[in-house]
């Protein structure tokens, strides 16, 4: 196994393209190293993208943010300006493992690992984030919810890599939040995760909303029906109950060592309702 740490995106793409699918991108490495150790991954080439300056930067960009794919979770958490705009995204990033893991792990890696339970992803979906992809044929963008195809599978083609994640400009009177359920307070994989991003008008009526769910299907889901339960309401108790029901109804979970179907379906609604309550609180506070 060879290790390369290119200094530019172009070099990285060239290395990946030349490896005939036998290469792995190394960002934080917190998933890749475990796969290497267990033998689940056995690449011939590791392309470390941390030496590429644009991959390491969080850039304010036309009111939104461009988060380089190699920005660590801790760097993002400590970015106070970003956290003020997208607290829900940061809620998710804060839950990606221990402080130690977050010192290495990246939001880009969390996305590319394509786990259905990735804590970073539902809030990105709710926020309407885009994945900025670079490859031998140039650059393209894709909505986060379309990027992951299933467990461990993404829409990346040969030689392509994620360069950044693009967060849009946050709307006025809006708020986002992510909550997950785990048996322990920390160090667990989400049994269920729910993110809500909503926007209010001057009268406190919800004008737009997006709801993302994690760990309840083969990939994180955008749930328009759950968002619809909020839109046009003042996000009162009745609306929250409809949101919960819609979130539960959208689940297509499995039974596994981390939770049962029944549990996931029920708790998805609970998490969505509680996340919405936090999001609306933030929307009201942030103005």
């Amino acid at each position: 196994m060879r290790y390369e740490a290119p200094k530019t995106l172009e070099q990285a793409i060239a290395l990946l393209s030349g490896a005939n699918g036998q290469a792995r991108v190394l960002a934080g490495g917190t998933d890749v190293l475990i796969q290497l150790r267990s033998g689940r991954a056995d690449p011939q080439l590791l392309v470390d993208i941390k030496a590429i300056p644009e991959m390491r930067a969080v850039v304010a960009d036309s009111g939104g943010y461009r988060i380089g794919a190699a920005v660590t979770c801790m760097e993002l958490i400590e970015n106070e300006v970003f956290a003020r705009d997208w607290p829900g995204v940061v809620d998710g990033v804060k839950l990606i493992g221990s402080v130690q893991v977050k010192g290495r792990a990246t939001l880009g890696g969390n996305l590319c690992n394509a786990s259905p339970a990735a804590d970073g992803v539902p809030a990105l979906i709710a926020a309407g984030a885009l994945v900025c992809i670079a490859g031998p044929l140039g650059r393209r963008e894709a909505p986060v919810e379309d990027f992951v195809l299933g467990p461990g599978r993404t829409s990346l083609g040969n030689g392509e890599l994620v360069a950044a994640i693009q967060l849009p400009r946050r709307a006025p009177h809006s708020g986002d939040a992510y909550l997950r359920f785990t048996p322990r307070t920390e160090m667990d994989i989400a049994v269920v995760g729910a993110a809500v991003y909503l926007t209010l008008d001057g009268k406190g009526v919800c004008r737009s909303a997006r709801v993302g769910l994690g760990a309840v299907a083969a990939r994180a889901l955008l749930v328009p029906a759950a968002a619809a339960a909020l839109i046009g309401t003042t996000v009162d108790e009745a609306a929250l109950e409809r949101l919960a029901a819609a979130a539960s109804a959208a689940c297509r979970p499995i039974d596994d060592k981390r939770g049962t179907k029944q549990f996931r379906v029920k708790v998805a609604g609970v998490m969505a309702r509680r996340a919405a309550a936090i999001a609306i609180e933030r929307a009201r506070r942030q103005g």
Binding site: M1, R2, Y3, A5, L26, G28, G29, T30, L33, I34, L36, R37, L46, D48, K50, T72, M74, G97, S98, V99, Q100, V101, G103, R104, T185, E186, M187
Partner: protein
Amino acid sequence: MSRNHVSATVNGDQVEFLCETGQTLLEALRDELRLTGTKEGCGTGDCGACSVIVDGRLVCACLMLAVEAEGKAIQTIEGMATGETLHPLQRKFIEHAALQCGICTPGILIAARSLLERNPNPTEDEVRYWLAGNLCRCTGYHKIVDAVLDAAREMRGG
């Protein structure tokens, strides 16, 4: 198998070593540099026994490749005391009986130091959440949390 040459700083000292690409920083520290104070409890980043500080960041040495250490400044438990003088955290851990078997202790001390460098006055909850990535099976964490809070107090000059 060709090996990678790495030069880095460990506890302030310039070091060089050779490593296979798949070798972790933990393996390099323990097997190449013979710094065995950093422990392996799981190899998957779930226990924190291998906690070290790399360029100011608290990380698990088992989740970082040794080749990635090129040019980095690494701090391990072996560099925590100054000569014969223990770091206040080390002293408080002994005084508060915050260690039993001691296998998790180096990692917890490194993690606690990283916390206090960022937050000199943490609450009990902040200590507990910061240390959530460091498993201890002996103590129930009670005396560890006590020791960290007391060390913080002393380091603040109170």
